[in-house]
């Protein structure tokens, strides 16, 4: 039965770490956006879009967590019994999205907060501000891809 | 003009003495006036020169000060200049030009008792070097300004004295001397007439006496 505990730890890490990362990232952009909107309320829509960017890592983490839970059969009511090796490999599969999700969400938050400064000066360059922040997304996508592939094809 | 004098020979002598005195006084005053005017013109010329130079320098100093003001907040400027380091001790003496007493300044600059602030009573952090420049110019002008004040006063006093002397000279020349001369003429005429009267009288008496004898 130790296997299942390790697998659940994997769920917790995938959802938890990337969620924390997203929360920090979104919060950071939110603070920056609030500052801008204090002086210039018309920019609310644009800043909201930027603020939403670091949310994706949390979603990827959630997705990974759900896949692990489905694999475990939690939703069907018949929880499979796992060996330690099986559990450990599920835990390992969750790590890419947990770690990369955590750090990339914060990094993306910083890039998006800087983008807030950009649209304060040049609202017309909104697209570029988003592009810069979205570049960080690439690595979150890679990590979630690897995590899911590991879980589905192992 | 009615002349009320005793047409006596004594009066005539007295008047003649007065006339020569008035003429001498007139000449003396005239000389004094000429000398005063000469001195006055000298001073005025010097005054004009100095004044023009100072006006130019002051305009420059004000322009410099303005620039210093333009680059410093009012409060900083006020702070920099509120406590002066220099005292001016000024004493006034009298100088005699043709019996006119004109002021003569002598001054002494005193710096803070023991400090070594020089003429700049402020620090360097907030102040602009443009202030240094204008303070330097202004402090250089200060002695010249005092000299100008002294000259202007001298010129003013001399002008008043010249006016007074001129009035006296005119009074002597156009009033007193003609009047004495006329009086002398009148007395002389009167005396002549008296003499002629006495002569006629004598001749008349002589005729009467001769007729009786």
């Amino acid at each position: 039965m130790e296997g299942i505990v390790l697998a659940l730890l994997g769920v917790a890490l995938a959802v938890g770490l990337s969620g924390i990362g997203s929360a920090i990232g979104v919060g950071l952009v939110g603070e920056s956006a609030a500052g801008l909107v204090t002086e210039d309320p018309d920019k609310f829509g644009q800043t909201l879009l930027l603020q939403a960017l670091p949310m994706t890592q949390g979603i990827y983490g959630l997705l990974t967590g759900l896949v692990i839970m489905i694999n475990l059969g939690i939703f069907t009511g018949e929880v499979a019994s796992l060996t330690v090796t099986e559990g450990l490999s599920m835990l390992m599969a969750s790590l890419p999205v947990a770690l990369v999700g955590f750090l990339s969400a914060i990094a993306q938050g910083r890039a998006a907060a800087a983008g807030i400064g950009l649209i304060a000066k040049r609202p017309e360059e909104m697209g570029k501000a988003i592009t810069f922040a979205v570049m960080v997304e690439t690595f979150a996508v890679f990590s979630v891809l690897v995590s899911l592939l590991l879980l589905l094809f192992m | 003009m009615e002349i009320r004098v005793n047409p006596t020979r004594m009066e005539l002598n007295r008047l003649k003495k007065r006339l020569s005195m008035a003429r001498r006084g007139h000449k003396l005053l005239k000389d004094k006036q000429d000398e005063l005017i000469r001195q006055f013109i000298l001073l005025v010329r010097k005054n004009k020169e100095l004044r023009e130079r100072i006006e130019q320098e002051l305009a420059g100093a004000f322009a410099e000060f303005l620039l210093a003001r333009a680059v410093m907040p009012l409060e900083v400027l006020e702070e920099a200049l509120m406590y002066p380091t220099r005292d001016f001790a000024l004493s006034v003496h009298k100088q005699n030009i043709m019996s006119v007493y004109v002021p003569r300044f002598s001054w002494q600059e005193k710096t803070a008792e023991q400090g070594d602030a020089g003429i700049y009573p402020y620090g360097f952090v907030d102040t602009s070097a443009e202030l240094d420049i204008s303070i330097e110019t202004l402090s250089g002008i200060m002695p010249e300004l005092l000299e100008l004040a002294q000259l202007e006063k001298a010129v003013e006093l001399l002008a008043a004295e010249i006016e007074k002397t001129r009035r006296r000279v005119n009074a002597l020349e156009h009033v007193l001397i003609p009047k004495i001369e006329e009086t002398i003429r009148y007395i002389a005429m009167k005396l002549d007439e008296n003499e002629r009267g006495a002569l006629t009288r004598l001749m008349k008496i002589k005729d009467v006496v001769r007729a009786k004898t």
């Binding site: 950071l28 952009v29 603070e31 920056s32 956006a33 609030a34 500052g35 801008l36 909107v37 204090t38 002086e39 210039d40 920019k43 910083r110 907060a113 800087a114 807030i116 400064g117 304060a120 000066k121 | 303005l66 620039l67 003001r69 333009a70 680059v71 907040p73 009012l74 409060e75 900083v76 006020e78 702070e79 920099a80 509120m82 406590y83 002066p84 380091t85 803070a112 008792e113 023991q114 400090g115 070594d116 602030a117 020089g118 700049y120 009573p121 402020y122 620090g123 360097f124 952090v125 907030d126 602009s128 070097a129 443009e130 240094d132 420049i133």
Partner: protein, 335 residues
């Protein structure tokens, strides 16, 4: 205590980004310079963020009120938005020192101090009471001991310059100490550069005043990036030696151009403008960072320069200064 984490400045930086867009740009200032009269220049100012203040203005000559109000507002806003109040308090310290200088001099002259700047950390009435009672317990340590020393020495020397020199020195010592306490290389770099520039200007000014090396030693501020003893040892050499010594520092062009301008035109205007521009360039990194205190300090400096430029233009316009004389002294804008 160290400086707050850079991301804690996110809100403030967001606001600064919006505020920066309202700073007067070069073209506005140029239009003011080209205005036909002071009234015209004020009208151009009224189109900007200064509009409401200008509307309340009774006469052009009272423009200092607008500028003072603008600085007070800026400082108060920054204080409100900064996650760390003592950062802005640090920037207010120089106004405390200025007010102390005025109050001390007024005390020794036995007059009432007018024209104080209500921009410091300590309320003016408190400062006044401190000077009246000669009790400086509530002030930071170094400032307090400097004041105590002044109270002791001034009655002997009656040298007002000593008050300024002593307080300026303690101000920058305090600023450097605070920068070290906050462990902020940015602030340290800022104050050290300001000290260097002041020292370089003092170097030339003291030389022009024909004072000796001992006096220069008293006037220079410690803590800059240029080593003090080298500056002091350079003092007895001709001015050219200064260029040589500085040729490898980033003050080289500033000193060369500034001093040349000074010698040629007899005016320190260019050097002082270049010195301010140098600090502006240093602080312009604040425009690029999305977090940290740099944008706040940069914005504050930008306001100071803006106020300086407006004062320059208005004083110039009121007194019919030539446009060239104004332009020569106009500081680069932060934008």
């Amino acid at each position: 205590m160290t400086l707050a984490r850079d991301t804690s400045f996110a809100y403030a930086v967001g606001r600064i980004r919006a505020l920066e867009t309202r700073l007067l740009d070069r073209s506005k200032l140029e239009r003011m310079i080209d205005a036909a009269s002071a009234d015209e220049a004020i009208k151009i100012l009224a189109e900007t963020d200064y509009g409401s203040a200008v509307a309340e203005l009774a006469a052009v000559h009272d423009f200092e009120e607008i500028l003072q109000r603008e600085m007070a507002l800026t400082l108060a806003e920054l204080e409100k938005m900064s996650p760390q109040k003592d950062l802005i308090a640090l920037m207010r310290l120089r106004y405390d020192v200025l007010n102390l200088k005025i109050l001390l001099k007024a005390k020794y002259l036995q007059v009432k101090a007018e024209l104080l700047l209500p921009l410091g950390t300590v309320p003016l009435s408190t400062l006044q009471a401190m000077v009246d009672e000669e009790r400086f317990r509530d002030l930071p340590g170094p400032l307090r001991s400097a004041l105590d020393r002044i109270m002791e020495e001034f009655p002997l020397t009656r040298d007002p310059q000593m008050i300024d020199l002593a307080l300026d020195r303690v101000l920058f010592e305090q600023l450097m100490a605070e920068a070290a306490r906050l462990q902020s290389p940015f602030l340290k770099g800022l104050f050290a550069r300001q000290i260097d520039l002041i020292n370089l200007k003092t170097f030339i000014r003291v030389k022009r005043m024909e004072r000796d090396r001992d006096f220069f030693k008293k006037a220079v501020l410690p803590g800059g990036r240029l080593p003090l003893d080298r500056l002091i040892s350079l003092f007895d050499e001709p001015l050219d030696a200064l260029h040589g010594q500085l040729s490898r520092t980033d003050y080289a062009t500033l000193i060369e151009e500034g001093v040349r301008g000074w010698m040629e035109k007899g005016s320190s205007a260019l050097l002082e403008k270049l010195a301010d521009d140098y600090i502006t360039t240093y602080l312009q990194r604040g425009k690029r960072s999305a977090f940290g205190p740099e944008p706040l300090i940069g914005y504050l400096w930008a306001k100071e320069i803006e106020v300086k430029n407006i004062r320059l233009i208005l004083v110039g316009k009121i007194n019919k200064l030539s446009a060239d004389a104004i332009r020569e002294r106009l500081r680069d804008v932060y934008l």
